[in-house]
């Protein structure tokens, strides 16, 4: 698979290493180049320096057709903007967007965007822990 990851924070960088080891082709988009250099297992990860909300960067990132785009910058609003811009450019691509804010996650899920909400996932996991449920 070809996977584009926008944002090389804790989630993005881990995923990039995992997918690369699994044999997928990964492109990481990150505007802070030094952040990318600190990814431990960055071997084999393609890197594109730039702002993921910029039209030209999005086009560059999707030059090679991707199967999945994971939008995981540290800012919910930025992620919302980026994922919808990509959707506007390419209706067929699968876009997974990380949002911390649960109420935003609810609204944007309703709008048909595939959302991954760490806050909800943590709550769900916590409620299933022994002694809590």
């Amino acid at each position: 698979m070809r996977i584009v990851i926008i944002g090389s924070g804790r989630l993005g960088s881990r995923l990039a290493s995992l997918f690369t080891k699994r044999g997928d082709s990964v492109l990481m988009v990150e505007q802070n180049e030094s952040k990318f250099m600190y990814i431990e297992d960055r071997q084999g990860i393609e890197f594109l320096a730039g702002n993921g909300a910029d039209d030209n960067i999005i086009r560059d990132a999707l030059k090679k057709p991707a199967d999945i785009v994971i939008v995981a910058t540290g800012n919910d609003y930025t992620n919302i903007l980026i994922s919808q811009k990509i959707k506007l450019l390419d209706k067929t691509i699968r876009i997974i967007t990380r949002l911390f804010d649960v109420s935003l996650a609810t609204v944007y899920t309703e709008l048909g965007i595939e959302i991954l909400c760490p806050t909800s996932l943590t709550i769900d996991a916590l409620l299933k822990m022994p002694g809590i449920s």
């Binding site: 910029d54 609003y77 919302i80 903007l81 109420s103």
Partner: protein
């Protein structure tokens, strides 16, 4: 009207003042506590502390009964969320937003924001207007992302349209004559309206027909 403004930017503050003095009810929301407290001293209860891109803050501001919500933060993503939340949670209000990056405008239009204001684009148009001052056709306002324009043109002496009926001009679909100013008179044109020299014509024109309308109203010489 009741208007909620998100973002106490210079534009936000100035718009708040203008609307208040025009007798409207306004709430100005900003998440900068210092800014809010100093503005409150001048504007009073109008200013509210909170994140305007948060549905509960918008609700507390009275988004349910608002007529218009204006997103004027300096950040396009925040403005986008304000507009989308408004559209999703509070069905009625109109949304108006500032867009800093012109490349983001198509996205705002695709989600149904009622009006986007782009300072860069407006400046470009004003400059362009100066550049084209010698031309017959003056762009007044770009519509729908700039593909269609509202223009003003003057019928010059000996132009090909003089003494002709509109219906005989064979206008393409991309040109609509909206109104004609003749001296003090305003004419809403019909097919048999006849152009005269010195008429001022307001028209809606698609980009590719600007040259054509330029030729139509220019003096034959």
């Amino acid at each position: 009207m009741y208007i909620i403004i998100v973002g106490a930017s210079k534009a936000g503050i100035s718009l708040t003042r203008t609307l208040l003095s025009a007798g409207h009810e306004v709430t100005l929301i900003d998440q900068d506590k210092l800014k809010v407290s100093s503005l409150s001293e001048v504007l009073g209860d109008v200013v509210m502390f909170g994140n305007g891109a948060n549905a509960s803050v918008l609700k507390a501001a009275g988004a349910n009964r608002a007529d218009v919500i204006v997103a004027l933060t300096g950040d396009d993503s925040t403005n986008l969320v304000v507009c989308q939340l408004t559209k999703m949670m509070f069905m009625a209000p109109r949304t108006i937003t500032r867009v800093s990056d012109p490349a983001n405008e198509p996205l705002f239009q695709s989600i149904g924001v009622d009006a986007t204001i782009n300072a860069t684009r407006i400046l470009n148009y004003l400059i362009e207007e100066q550049v084209h001052a010698g031309d017959v056709v003056v762009p007044l306002f770009p519509l729908k992302g700039g593909n269609v324009e509202l223009v003003q043109a003057e019928v010059q002496k000996g132009a090909s349209v003089v003494d002709k009926k509109i219906k005989d001009l064979g206008l393409p679909e991309g040109i609509i004559i909206v109104s004609i100013y003749r001296g003090e008179e305003t004419i809403i044109p019909k097919g048999d309206t006849i152009f005269q020299q010195d008429d001022k014509v307001i028209a809606i024109v698609t980009k590719e027909h600007i040259d054509k309308i330029q030729k139509m109203f220019k003096s034959a010489g």
